[in-house]
Structure formats: structure tokens, C-alpha cells
């Protein structure tokens, strides 16, 4: 019998308050899934950064656009999807915020933080346009052989700036 996957989806307005709301929702789910305080902080921060990215860069703060947040809990992982209604982007186009020339940039660290704090992170084109950020963390007690969620980033990136 297939394991049950719990699924929650919400559609958020393109508004600053949506950032806080998304963070709070995901932290509550993470707490219920058994993540400890530090991991809940990292998950909450990652979701926050994902929704900031959608709010600011993806939807360009246009109120008529929406942000789609989905949370999945499988037997092994908590998976979070953040989909915007913008133009989409490629991770390879994202500047490295740790490069010397970018250290004093006032933006460009969100994707880097999501990569640092989650076990898995990727960006896909949305089915109807936009960018879909997908991030996942293994549930507590299952081990984390490829984890980079200990606060040290193994790679780099930054919030995208759509052309």
C-alpha cells in the first residue's frame, strides 16, 4: 500500500504580509512533523526567502498576481513549492553573492540562503509560466547524507532578477 502524502496548498496575494503568513504556516507544519527548533528556523527562513523572491522579483510586487504555496509531507521529506506568475529564471543566471564584487550588494542572497538551509533546492519553469522553487528537507530521524542544512552553503546563488 502506498504511503500517504499529506498535501496543503494555498494561494497568497502579492503582499508583504504573505511572506510572514507563508513562513508561519510552514513552521507550524515543520513543528508538527517533528523538526527541532533550529530546523524549523531554517525551513521558515527558506520559505520566507522563496516567497520574498516571488513577491519582489517574480511578481514584481504587482497585486493582481498571485503566489502559490504548496507543502507536501511524505514519509521521508517535507517538500515546499513556491510558484510565482512572473517570467521565470534559470539558476545559472543567478550571481554568486559570495563573490568579492557582490559582497556589498544590498540584495541577492535569498536563493543562497535557501540552498544553504535546505537539503534540496531547485527551480523549474511553472506549468503556466513563472518560476517554481522547490525545496525539501528530510524528516528528523531519517539521516541526511546529502544535507547541507547545517548553516554552511555548499554552493552559491542569489535571488533572481528577471530581465
Amino acid at each position: 500500500m502506498a504511503a500517504e502524502t499529506k498535501h496543503l496548498e494555498v494561494t497568497l496575494d502579492t503582499h508583504v504580509e504573505s511572506v510572514n503568513l507563508a513562513e508561519e504556516m510552514c513552521v507550524r507544519v515543520a513543528e508538527a512533523a517533528g523538526f527541532n527548533e533550529d530546523e524549523c528556523y531554517r525551513i521558515g527562513m527558506s520559505v520566507r526567502e522563496g516567497v520574498i523572491n516571488a513577491f519582489h522579483y517574480g511578481n514584481q510586487e504587482k497585486p493582481e498576481k498571485k503566489i502559490h504555496l504548496a507543502i507536501e509531507l511524505t514519509e521521508e521529506r517535507m517538500i515546499i513549492h513556491v510558484l510565482d506568475e512572473g517570467k521565470g529564471f534559470h539558476l545559472t543566471d543567478v550571481p554568486d553573492p559570495l563573490a568579492q564584487e557582490n559582497l556589498l550588494s544590498t540584495s541577492g542572497r535569498g536563493i543562497f540562503l535557501m540552498k544553504a538551509f535546505m537539503d534540496e533546492f531547485d527551480v523549474h519553469p511553472g506549468k503556466t509560466g513563472g518560476a517554481e522553487l522547490v525545496m525539501a528537507k528530510r524528516l528528523p530521524g531519517l539521516g541526511s547524507p546529502h544535507s547541507n542544512g547545517n548553516g554552511s552553503a555548499s554552493n552559491s546563488g542569489a535571488p533572481h532578477q528577471e530581465a
Binding site: Y41, M45, R48, L98, L103, T106, R109, G151
Partner: protein, 115 residues
């Protein structure tokens, strides 16, 4: 309720800003920006941000710290950080901003660093 509070103290031409709460997208980042800009407008260019009661900073808050650092430096001054919590310390470390900011754990040492 505001997410960030700021109070300022001044000793010997050095301004200490005691911050408490969250420096994050929205009013937290906006208050930090306004506080630093107001100090610069008053000609105060030796600034220490006491982050001892700041328990959360997101990328927007990090950007605002960098923006303040640059704005103060462009006026010929210095902006330094005091009393980082572990979360803020770790964030500055992984973003390599420890190499940018002067960071202190002791207020008197931070004050003397302007000598």
C-alpha cells in the same frame, strides 16, 4: 505591533543604536534604514548597531545592514556591529559579511575601536 524597535544613545561623538526584534522585509528593514539615514542627516557618522536583542534577520535585513554600512562609509564614517545573537552571527558568517563588518561582543571595546 512593530517588528523592530530602535533607541539611540550617544557618548563622545559615538552613537549606539540598541535594536530589538526582527530586521526583516517590511517595517523592520524600513526602520533600520530610517534610523541610519536620520543619524547621517544629523551628521552622526560613528555608529554602533547593538543587535543583542535582534533574534531574526532575513535577506532583506542583511541588505539593509549592508546598505547602512555603505551609506555611513560614503559619509566618511564607520558603522560597526555589537552583540550578535547566534543566528545573526551564523548568517553573517555564511554570507561572508564577517569579512566586511567590524563585529564586537563588548560595548567598551566597540567604543574604543573608533579611537
Amino acid at each position: 505591533m512593530p517588528s523592530l524597535f530602535a533607541t539611540t544613545r550617544e557618548y563622545s561623538g559615538i552613537t549606539l543604536v540598541d535594536l530589538s526584534g526582527r530586521i526583516s522585509l517590511g517595517d523592520g528593514s524600513a526602520l533600520l534604514r530610517k534610523t541610519v539615514r536620520d543619524l547621517l542627516d544629523e551628521g552622526r557618522t560613528k555608529i554602533i548597531l547593538n543587535l543583542g536583542d535582534v533574534n531574526y534577520i532575513d535577506s532583506s535585513g542583511i541588505g539593509e545592514l549592508v546598505s547602512g554600512f555603505t551609506a555611513v562609509r560614503n559619509r566618511g564614517g564607520e558603522l560597526k556591529l555589537l552583540n550578535l545573537t547566534k543566528k545573526v552571527h551564523d548568517l553573517l558568517q555564511i554570507t561572508k559579511l564577517f569579512t566586511v563588518f567590524d563585529v564586537f561582543n563588548d560595548e567598551s571595546m566597540a567604543m574604543r575601536s573608533f579611537d
